[in-house]
């Protein structure tokens, strides 16, 4: 090789750009294959991830895949911001049954999962942490399934709002339980109080500050969707970085950023730009990497417990929504659909699980196996449930409404009128 120094050395090094490109294209192809089978695209992305994992470890690029979390973080930032932006506090005030439903379904999920895991002899704190993590619905899955189905209506709107709320509640409860762990492990009351306090206040302040910054900048540039889109994406990615650097909660900070950026009246400097197509790039990679990172061997050690957790969680979600449906004037059919739409469990749960494992590795071993196995199941079952729910509610766009042929349509016979 020495005589041809301009030639690359073999084998080629696998760089981030190449990895991103490969994951993106492979994920997209998997998604379209799923689409042809009338399955949600996400199922395709995740299955590609499952398939890539063994190949990756054989090629020894596992570490690179771990490093690729940057893509995952950007994707999560975008999705949390989007869901936060959709959370309309004014609506929660006008229809209090929505907040009640959220608290109700979360409480029910927590109780059922906690009881089930306790019955399986998990320690109370472990069961509690798993139960709290189970409260969260995956915003990325619900958002993407709704986008793919072009779903519009009350079930879609309520599902996205409830997702934002339960992500919020789950991260708050997990943080509080972690403080308890703190205390139990180290008997350090000051830290046990100050840490969650720092997380809440710091994350909210970061979200608020970024929203203010966004508005201030938005007020100084032309009101064009392209410019505002760039601004929003830039600030979202920066917020993720700041939250990580400041050891804050990415979930809380980005939800808060989204929520605060949606000002009322004069506060609407920042346009409600559509993040859809561009953020799809990151979402595809997010799900492929998520699929690749889930250790399927967790089923062997924790299969039964995971099955119990998944069942208890589903029962809690559906029963919780059903119980509060009459208060909000939600019909039975819509409530069932809404319950199904809240089942996906993916990125947020994974993120929370990561937090727990990072802070207390010794504490989280067995818990991690149960959660990871549950998440692996829900990566496939969740999108299916959400897609079914939105269809069942009649909110998905018909496959080809416009393409109906006008066979034998006699003008007058239609009795058409406006």
């Amino acid at each position: 090789m020495a005589e041809f120094p301009f030639l690359p050395s073999l084998p080629l090094t696998l760089s981030y750009p190449l990895l991103f490109g490969v994951l993106l294209v492979a994920g997209m192809l998997g998604g379209e294959a799923a689409r042809m089978l009338r399955l949600p695209r996400i199922v395709g992305y995740v299955l590609v991830g499952f398939a890539i994992a063994p190949a990756a470890s054989a090629m020894n690029i596992g570490p690179l895949l771990d490093e690729a979390r940057i893509f995952v973080d950007i994707a999560l930032g975008l999705v949390l911001f989007e869901v936060g932006r959709r959370m309309d506090l004014a609506w929660l005030k006008r229809d209090w049954s929505l907040a009640a439903t959220s608290v109700g379904e979360c409480a029910l999920v927590f109780s059922l999962v906690f009881a089930a895991l306790s019955a399986l002899d998990f320690a109370p704190l472990q069961a509690g942490l798993a139960a709290a993590i189970s409260m969260a619905t995956s915003p990325a899955v619900v958002l993407l399934v709704a986008q793919d189905a072009r779903a519009e209506g009350q079930v879609t709107e309520r599902a996205l709002t409830l997702v934002a709320l339960n992500s919020l509640l789950a991260s708050v409860v997990v943080t509080m339980l972690l403080a308890t762990v703190h205390y139990e492990v180290r008997l350090d009351l000051t830290r046990a109080v100050l840490h969650p306090l720092y997380l809440f206040a710091g994350s909210l302040a970061l979200g608020g500050a970024m929203a203010s910054l966004g508005r201030a900048l938005a007020g100084r540039i032309e009101r064009s969707p392209e410019l505002h889109f760039t601004l929003v994406v830039g600030l979202v990615v920066a917020s993720v970085g700041l939250a990580q650097a400041g050891k804050l909660s990415v979930i809380l900070a980005l939800l808060a950023f989204g929520m605060f950026s949606r000002g009322e009246g004069r506060g609407r400097e920042l346009m409600a730009v559509d993040l859809g197509r561009a953020s799809r790039l990151f979402y595809v990679v997010l799900f492929v990497i998520t699929g690749a990172s889930l250790p399927l061997e967790a089923f062997e050690t924790a299969g039964v417990a995971a099955a119990v957790l998944v069942a208890a969680r589903a029962a809690g979600k559906v029963a919780g929504v059903l119980a509060f449906a009459p208060l909000g004037g939600v019909r039975l059919r819509q409530a069932l659909a809404l319950g199904a739409a809240l089942l996906p469990m993916s990125s947020i749960a994974l993120l929370l699980q990561h937090d727990v494992a990072r802070l207390y590795p010794e504490f989280g071993q067995q818990l991690a196996a149960v959660l990871l196995a549950s998440i692996a199941v829900m990566e496939i079952a969740g999108p299916l449930a959400a897609q079914w729910g939105l269809r069942f509610a009649g909110e998905s766009a018909p496959e080809s409404q416009a393409a109906q042929p006008a066979k034998g349509a006699v003008p007058g016979a239609a009795g058409q009128s406006r």
Partner: protein, 388 residues
């Protein structure tokens, strides 16, 4: 079989208003009508609220009235009920003739048998027909009167266009028209105006002939700007955009009622044919230029500015307005014409301020909700509504 014309009391009146159903994020049209209508089933509203061709529209049908003030009060009450129900569903509702930036292909046909048939027959025209108009019904005692009034009212169609115009934007762009909505209507094969029949009998012969060709089955198949409505015993003016406020809608109905009263009292005998020769041209002028339109006057062989023609007509109707209780409405209309302040101008000004159509629709929805304020239904309708 001849069409039966249901007799009704002369000069009773009512309106139909087609309204936008919007999300509260970017104020695009959204598929909210099914949920909103279901919620409204339980509400005790004075007017009826019905589905329309796509799931982002609802239609309000008022009851029959004699006085402007009563109609206005009913519309305010209905509006308050709809706004409240929409709020619980995180939806917004607005007036205006067309949505400024929605993509017609995103719309979904409301799945009733009739709308699905319309969609199957007309293809993309059906979804393009997601535009929002006001229909005004004026009661007449006979089919002959309905024919007479339909022909006579054709002369005043430009006034209604200029006064109601509230659709300057379409598919995200300024169309340069005061109303772009009417282009969606004109595309239908049976759009246009009533043929030059002189009586209800003659109209029936025309209808039978058209039915014989298999082109129409009922009056609903004619998408005319003004048409007799035998089922209700009315003449129906369908030219107007839905105004941005319920007051605006009631005022237009009051103008139509007063005009009809004058036309029925002082029967005109001038020939119909020349009127229809200039009809399309004048209609275009009003759509494009609003109050500044130059209308061809077939009798005088001159052109006259629409605003001046409207002011002269209002002047002429003044005494009748006092008698019918429409004086306030006529004064408000005159004031608007005088200051050239129609809803299209209001929308363009909001766009100048915000540079963003989402914000324009948000302000449009706020105006629909707040102007006149809640509880205005109880207040006496004295005094002039500020035009903006």
């Amino acid at each position: 079989m001849p069409l039966e014309f249901a007799k009704s009391d002369a000069l009773t009146f009512g309106v139909e208003l087609e309204l936008m159903v919007l999300n509260t994020r970017d104020f695009n049209l959204t598929r909210g009508a099914p949920d909103l209508l279901r919620r409204l089933e339980k509400a005790q509203l004075p007017s009826e609220v019905k589905p329309e061709i796509t799931e982002s529209m609802i239609e309000v049908n008022s009851t029959v009235h004699r006085r402007f003030a009563e109609l206005r009060e009913e519309l305010v009450r209905t509006r308050d009920g709809i706004v409240e129900a929409a709020g619980k569903l995180n939806l917004a509702v607005a007036g205006g003739g067309s949505h400024p930036f929605h993509q017609w292909s995103d719309r979904r046909i409301f799945p009733t048998e009739r709308f699905l048939k319309v969609s199957a027959l007309y293809g993309y025209l059906a979804k393009q027909f997601t535009v929002f108009g006001q229909h005004i019904h004026i009661g007449v005692e006979s089919g002959d009167d309905a024919i007479y009034l339909t022909h006579q009212m054709a002369r005043f169609i430009p006034h209604f266009i200029a006064l109601s115009a509230s659709s300057p934007f379409s598919q995200g762009e300024d169309t340069s028209f005061e109303t772009s909505r009417l282009h969606a209507v004109s595309a239908f094969p049976l759009a246009g105006h009533l043929p030059e029949v002189a009586s209800w009998d003659e109209f029936n012969r025309y209808f039978d002939e058209m039915a014989g060709y298999g082109i129409v089955a009922s009056m609903k198949d004619f998408y005319w700007d003004i048409r007799p409505k035998p089922e209700y015993g009315t003449m129906e003016i369908r030219i107007g955009d839905t105004p941005l406020t319920v007051t605006g809608a009631a005022e237009l109905a009051a103008y139509a009622q007063t005009l009809a009263a004058d036309l029925l009292r002082h029967r005109r005998t001038d020939p119909i044919a020349p009127r229809y020769l200039v009809y399309g041209y004048n209609r275009f002028q009003a759509c494009r230029f609003g109050f500044e339109a130059m209308l061809a006057d077939p009798g005088a062989h001159t052109h006259i500015r629409l605003r001046e023609d409207l002011m002269a007509t209002l002047n002429h109707l003044q005494r009748l307005g006092d008698e019918l209780g429409t004086a306030d409405a006529l004064r408000a209309i005159g004031d608007r014409a005088d200051r050239e302040l129609n809803d299209s101008r209001w929308l363009r000004e909001r766009f100048q301020e915000t540079r963003n159509l989402s914000d324009v629709v948000r302000l449009q929805a706020e105006r629909w909700r707040d102007d006149p304020g809640k509880g205005a239904a109880q207040a006496p309708v004295a005094g002039l509504r500020a035009a903006s």
